[in-house]
Amino acid sequence: MFMPRKQTPEGSSLTRTQLGAVGAGLLIAGLALLVVGWSAPLVLFAKAVLVLAGVVTTSQGLSRVVWAVRGRRPDILVWLCSAWLVLLITVALLAPLLPLGEHVDVASALTAPTYQTPELLSEHPLGTNNYGLDLLARSVYGARTSLVISLLAVAIGTVVGGSIGVVAGYFRAGVDSVVGIFTNALLAVPPLILLIALGTVLDPKIRNIALALALITIPSMIRLARANTIAFAQREFVLAARAMGATRLRVMVRELTPNVMLPVFSMMIVMISVLIVAEASLSFLGLGIQAPEPTWGNMISEGEGGTMQDFPHVVLVPGTFLFLTVFSFNLLGEKAQKRWDARSAKI
């Protein structure tokens, strides 16, 4: 018998109740796996496998439940990623108001246990580091730093790179070739090397690091905005605007910029994840924000040497925060590119 895939609203051979039951079953099984994986006295590796299986099963179950209720298969991953980012941003914004443990002041953590392993219902749900600082609090404040730096850098990079790109793409000729050489020169140094070189010179402060990261965003933004401007500048509506006597500035601001916005926006989301990784790498190498001020990168670097062997949570906690955030931005960025920017999505 013929059975179409995905097309029909249901897209499933099961009835609504059956699908819901399967989903609920998977959901419960997934949650059970999560609990067992978290609390069972097993080797870390086995725990990790169990937790991973739990996450996959839970999301599959959740997806089927929603599928049964709404009649359409949801893109559960997109929802989960958005939920994570919303949660992270909210918590990062409200961090000073939340009842978190000590995140930076070593002196006030003197009485706290050091290297305590995560225990969800204790005072330090995600454990502590070698000074007894609370890892949950540090991860949340790390998120603050990470997000502030990368959002600031992307904003600067997009505004500067985007406008240079639109101007270069609209005027072509002289401006374009000067901009081209400048872009090529910036792209001629591998990004991390450029950051390290800048790190030698600049004081490791949030503002400076954001500026350095903005510098590596600029060339790709110029290229993207320029290519899109060239494509749109030949379209009829631009000609029509010019024929109506619009000034060049007006054409660029009113006609071209809105059209270039969408691909640039999807690039921004991808760029954020690139910059979060870059910032973390820089901190990891000791060239970013300095400890004890927490960032995910310098928290992870605490696990270097033998520490990770004895206290894996010191790396795994900030590592998980970093991974989930980068993954979410990557996924959302890719979806956005598929939708708004067919060309970049290929790479």
């Binding site: 140094v189 390290i196 030698t200 973390a280 790396v315 970093l322 991974f323 993954f327 290929k346």
Partner: protein, 316 residues
């Protein structure tokens, strides 16, 4: 021939700008290099003498030309940090390590990516394709320093299969060298593997929809042969393009992995120099890395012509 000359001209221009940028950047260094060399508490005359010795009193352009001229003659000055080794010697000692690691990482990534992509593309949307796709996407979101720490924890410290923090030169003991560099190379390979697999899979699926694949099928060619002979070669061009694009990331992860595994490569040199404010060493290293990077990219560009029979094929 003419296009090649133009390319070379562009290359030189870009390298000049990069070297000037690198030089200028470090000249903006806050604080006085003389102070950082001699330490605090010397007399102003001593500092002045040191500055004169370092040539810091000259005009910036003069100093740049001096430095760049030296660079062309193979002299990049001496490190500021005792024992004040020659920068070129330091770089020459470290470069082979980095090149070996990057090449091994790239090779490992390719060796894994090609079969994975073919397996994925042979049944797009199937279970295998979805599992490979999801895991590659996840790998893409693990920064290399995190991946390296996890690999060390599992394979070096946990299972004890591989050593860590040792480097054996390939000239001394080829097999030992491969064994010792396996884990760092694998760390470098992971990120590239994920990108290569994803791009190659998409490209293969595109190629497999081409009419000439249908025509090969209609001749009764077996599926594996179509995949390997008819589809892989046209798709491999996009892999070469990708190689160029991923070069920057490759350099980045090599630097991080060398630092993480404490290997005597460029990464360790440049990161330590940066942390210590050893600016001649940073300048020299960045210049050398940028030059190699630009040349490799130019080489990749030129190689299309030789690999693709339709020399002027336009890439979408």
């Amino acid at each position: 021939m003419r296009t090649a000359l133009i390319r070379i001209g562009e290359l030189i221009a870009v390298l000049m700008i990069v070297s000037f940028g690198v030089f200028m950047l470090v000249s903006l260094l806050p604080g006085d290099p003389a102070v950082s060399i001699l330490g605090d508490g010397r007399s102003p005359e001593e500092y002045a003498a040191k500055r004169a010795e370092l040539g810091l009193d000259d005009n910036v352009i003069v100093r740049y030309l001096d430095w760049f001229g030296g660079a062309l003659r193979g002299d990049l000055g001496a490190s500021l940090i005792p024992p004040q080794n020659d920068v070129v010697d330091r770089i020459l000692g470290a470069l082979p390590v980095s090149v070996q690691l990057a090449a091994m990482g790239l090779l490992m990534a390719l060796l894994m990516a090609i079969p994975l992509a073919m397996w994925s593309a042979s049944r797009p949307g199937g279970l295998v394709d979805r599992i490979i796709g999801a895991s590659m996407f996840a790998v893409l979101s693990v920064p290399s320093f995190l991946a390296g720490l996890l690999l060390i924890a599992v394979f070096a410290n946990g299972l004890g299969w591989f050593p860590r923090a040792q480097w054996v030169r390939i000239t001394e003991d080829p097999l030992g060298s491969l064994y010792h560099s396996f884990l760092p190379a694998l760390t470098i390979a992971l990120m590239e593997l994920a990108t290569f697999t994803r791009v190659l899979r998409n490209d293969l699926i595109g190629t497999l929809n081409e009419d000439y694949i249908l025509a090969a099928k209609a001749k009764g060619m077996p599926p594996w042969r179509i995949l390997v002979v008819d589809a892989l070669r046209p798709s491999s061009f996009s892999l070469i393009t990708l190689l160029g694009i991923s070069m920057g990331r490759l350099v980045g992860s090599t630097v991080i992995v060398e630092y993480l595994f404490a290997l005597p490569g460029m990464g360790g040199v440049v990161v330590n120099a940066a942390n210590q404010g050893d600016y001649p060493l940073v300048q020299g290293s960045v210049l050398v890395i940028a030059a190699i990077y630009v040349l490799v990219n130019a080489g990749i560009d030129l190689s299309y012509g030789y690999l693709d029979p339709r020399t002027r094929r336009v890439h979408a």
